[in-house]
């Protein structure tokens, strides 16, 4: 009887650890998926900067881009900071278990 219970406990521990490993893998896949979405949104941001040269157009496109960020990523929010006369760092923040961030340096 004890042998049966021991064998069962060992099997259960092995299976549960396998399941937790697999859950970890799926979480990682979901995070990678969000990271790839963020990278695409950053590429879209660089295209917005190319297509919209005037500050008025840029502001309108930027607002739209931020609306898209909120739709495609959980709590997605983008920002840009000029680091030089022609260089900008575009950052995209979102939340998945904890705060995540992805950024790109581009000509602006």
């Amino acid at each position: 009887m004890i042998e049966v219970l021991t064998a069962m406990s060992i099997t259960t521990i092995v299976l549960l650890s396998l399941l937790s490993y697999q859950i970890g893998l799926v979480k990682e896949a979901a995070y990678l998926n969000m990271q790839s979405i963020a990278q695409m949104q950053l590429m879209n941001a660089t295209q917005i900067l190319i297509a919209n040269q005037t500050s008025r157009n840029r502001r309108a496109a930027w607002n739209q881009w931020n609306k898209d960020n909120a739709t495609v990523l959980p709590q997605g929010q983008g920002s840009d900071n000029a680091i030089d006369t022609h260089l900008c760092v575009v950052t995209l923040n979102w939340f998945y278990y904890h705060a995540r961030s992805e950024s790109i340096t581009t000509v602006c």
Partner: protein, 190 residues
């Protein structure tokens, strides 16, 4: 071994078997979920890279003689009804057709012609007998080519230069909710 012991053993084994089966199904489901995520990611990357390149090159007349400049509109969007009328293409309702004019390789030569992107039925069905849609690429009136299977949505928005008819950028929603592409058109071609 008494009958009670045997009964307990059988019950415990039954509980264990149910647990193992449940775990197996849960793992299987997680595996499918991870695969679906990777599949989505791959599709998004391909569509974005392919379309971005084509949109950026819209208006490329490098294959045309300078003596014959073109006055064709380089980017256009058509809804399902108009796409059927103009291009005889039956696209999925509530989606758009994107038309770009540029030099593309055709029979080993570069030719200036319209290229079309749209979502249509593949005339195939999946395991559940549901019809399969796909993103298609079509050069002028030549047969369509299937680019990505399983795409159901394609909405196009064109952005014009202020006080001008020139298109400066194209925004495409190709998957709900997270497939968005914004691509600028190279001004040098216009």
């Amino acid at each position: 071994m008494t009958i009670i012991e045997l009964f307990i053993r059988v019950s415990l084994s039954a509980v264990l078997m149910i647990g193992v089966t449940d775990l197996f199904f849960a793992m299987n489901q997680l595996h499918h979920q991870a695969n679906a995520l990777f599949d989505q990611q791959e599709k998004r990357r391909f569509i974005s890279a392919f379309l971005e390149n084509k949109i950026q090159m819209a208006g490329d007349v490098s294959c045309l003689s300078k003596l014959k400049p073109t006055r064709a509109t380089i980017v256009r969007s058509w809804n399902a009804k108009k796409a059927l009328k103009k291009w005889h293409v039956d696209i999925v309702s509530k989606t758009d057709l994107l038309e770009l004019q540029e030099c593309v390789r055709f029979h080993d030569k570069k030719k200036f012609m319209p290229i079309l992107f749209f979502v249509a039925n593949t005339n195939r069905v999946d395991k559940n007998h549901q019809s399969i849609d796909a993103l298609f690429y079509k050069k002028n009136h030549h047969p369509r080519e299937e680019l990505v299977t399983g795409v159901h949505y394609f909405s196009v928005r064109l952005y014009r230069l202020p006080h001008s008819k020139q298109i400066r950028a194209v925004k495409i929603h190709y998957a709900k909710p997270n497939g968005v592409l914004y691509a600028a058109i190279m001004r040098t071609f216009q």
